[in-house]
Amino acid sequence: MDGNMLKIAFQLNGKEVSIEINPEDSALMVLRDRFHLKGAKEGCGIGECGACTILVDGLAVNSCLMLAAQLDGRNVKTVEGLVHQEKMDILQEKFIEHGAIQCGFCTPGMLLSARALLDENPSPDHDSIVEALSGNLCRCTGYVQVVEAVEDAAAERES
């Protein structure tokens, strides 16, 4: 098996990293088991629920469907990378403030989908937020307070 190992290098939460992987390893597996970043979750394993969402070159993707090999040379961000200089991302603060977190299993994925949206469009309207979050399933919140939190985060950045 060692003969098949593949070395990849990428930027992970702002740091250059490299690692040897099996070519068939998923990005989610490598992030969770090799880098011990447990923020991304496996909710379905088939790209339906969005709990494994990470940012790759700023795009929100399902890491369960992505091969780790595809991370080579990319800029990868997980929920652990949202904290900047020991300060929470505005989205993290607003999720807490609005009660947008219940069980919290979907939260990392939601935050990253929302982050990708705000990076691309700092003042999204309600429908754009809903669209951006539609790939992230949540069974607890009914999404209302999640959407409110993202709206509030966007509004705060504008003001």
Partner: protein, 776 residues
Amino acid sequence: MDVIEAPAQLLSAVISRSTTIIMLEASFRHIGKNIRRTGSAERALGTAVFSADLEMPSALTLLILRSNRHHAQILEIDVSRAEKVPGCVRVFTARDIPGRNRLGIINKDQRLLADDKVRCVGDPVALIAAETPESAERALTEIRVEYRDLPSVFDPEEALRPGAPEIHEGGNLLGSRFVLRGNPDEAFKHCEVVVEQVYTTGFVEHTYLEPDAGIAYMDEDGMLVIHASTQNPHYDQKDVADLLGIEEDKVRVIQSATGGGFGSKLDMNVQGFVGLAAFLLQRPARMVYTREEAFLATAKRHPLKIWFKSGATRDGRLLAVDVSITGDTGAYASYGLAVVSRAAVHATGPYEVPNVRIESRFSYTNNPMAGAMRGFGVPQVALAHESQMDMLAERLGLSPFDIRLRNCYRIGSTTATGQELQASVGIGATLEAISPHYHEAIAGKEQEKHKPYVRRGVGIGAMMYGIGNTGMRNPSSAQMRLDLNGNVSLFTGAADIGQGSSTVLLQIAAEELNIDPDEISLIVADTMLTTSAGATSASRQTYISGNAVLEAAKKLKDVILTQAATILKTDKAQLVLENGWVHSKTNVVDGVSFKRIAERAHKAGLPLNWQGYFDPDTTPLDPETGHGRPYSTYAFATHLVEVEVDTLTGEVRVLKVVAAHDVGKAINPRNVHGQIYSGVVMGIGFALMEEFFPGRTESMKDYHIPCAADVPQIMSIIIEDPEPTGPFGAKGVGEPALIPTAPAILNAIKDALGVRIYSLPANLERVMKACLVAQT
């Protein structure tokens, strides 16, 4: 009624009713406040540790070989080849279980591993423990099971016929419940209108986002420690100890961060397996369900068939109902007996009916196990009672709103089980709260006639929900402790599965001790450190565990005050607690700290750890008539729904929901709104899209729950009709939030099309069929 609080959200409001007890709103410091949910920072940071996140490099991977037969005798299980797979450590079968191979919270009819036979597809047959997931997968393919198929039955009515295949010894009837009041046969003769209909609902999957997971190991003291995603750690502890034949105090269950439950994590889904492997192999063992395994092997919502006959007088008063409920509990009981009773007791809805006959019968089949799911059968019966109300109203020329207001419970009403409701009966207030929205929606509907193929409809659904278990003891206990440094701790066994019970319990303790909630250490759902709070189910933790915490806090407060009175040489009644100090009402400067009080009490040998206990005042129901006091308090709600039906595609869009809930007192309004939004959206899934088909539904590709784009405008209205026996007047809201939505949507579809759908979900096929009928 007064609006006592500015809306938490633009669209949401809190309305308070000061009926039975006087609440000094202004005096609350933590109750009624939007305190941040405990654990939300860790969840936002991604550092909260769910079961699958626990790192233990030496942990064995566990996999289960599950039955691919509906009903079969096991002739032989050959694990010899599997055990030779490199990396496979052991393959366990039923013979390896050292204690009693039985599980189940009410009926002990489940086997951890099948012994003589399997009763459904998915039954666990063998358990593999391996060094790596790859080895476990390979070993799984090497186990040979020889089955002899037995006749199977999938229809709950067929299962009760003579000669039906027997699934468990003693027959296929799980249980029944009867409720009788007055003389329905006679009363029907005096009804102006009688409507009669059959309603059906399907299996529903909980679809919590976190698939079941757990990890177990032996600690240095020889204790078996299990971390698991669970709603009831103390029950898990007992059943695991019985399985292993060891004392309960040799098993410690710690609830990990739990990614939702909705009833399914009341069953032991992984705890027994990780416990068995870790105990027998003396090595850490981990099990993480794939989503497919969660679909295959965990409990579903019970499919019900409800025959419902109701009759009313000319002026729209309900005179009689006659209801027959048949339920399918699948291969095992799980919480089925609780659903049998709760469905029966709630079948009249929130309405006073003088003549009632209800019979509810559930049977075993070879379908997947059905168990607890948010609402315990009430969401299903609410479809029936709410459709019936609309049908009666239509026949009598009354509005759906008026007929409900005319019949709803009031103070002094008697329920079908003969219980007189004495306080906190907010159903009328929830109806009144939606009244302006209802009339606005009706008026708005008339103006919307832009697309001829799109029809608009408005519907109402109402409900009542008994808080806590049905007609049985279901106590909770909690402890409050003051340590020698003057720090306060709250110990509760209540598993917070995301709904926010820990936050509410903390607010109750903080209010009583007048201390900042952040200053209280919280120890939750660890069987070694906390006592049982009962299950996180039946919307019971705020009311029942809230009372237990309140009692513990009161006892601790009394000791603190007694000590302070001696130190300060002041009458106890003149003293107040404030932020970890005690001082006199008139002299706020010369106080005494909790630390000094604790040291003094300790020297005097006085306990600083106090237990609170609460068991709601219920009585068992009479087996023949169902009479008794099933619950000591009830929550009430009314939802108003506006829909748009596309008659070309059958697509139903829910445009708006106004949800009014009587919760007694909202300890944390933002969390209550969160529960209501959650319930409404789950209700939309239940109404329009969700159905689990045994053998066909395998993954999230086959089963769709609402996503953000499916969410309508939701206005959540909190009604506070305080419950005198509740902590600060509180009742509960978790399950009630879901119940009225689906019936309201179906009533709205009827309003849009003029054709009624009697089965859930009202999926595209059923709606299209209704559209075709409407056009003919």
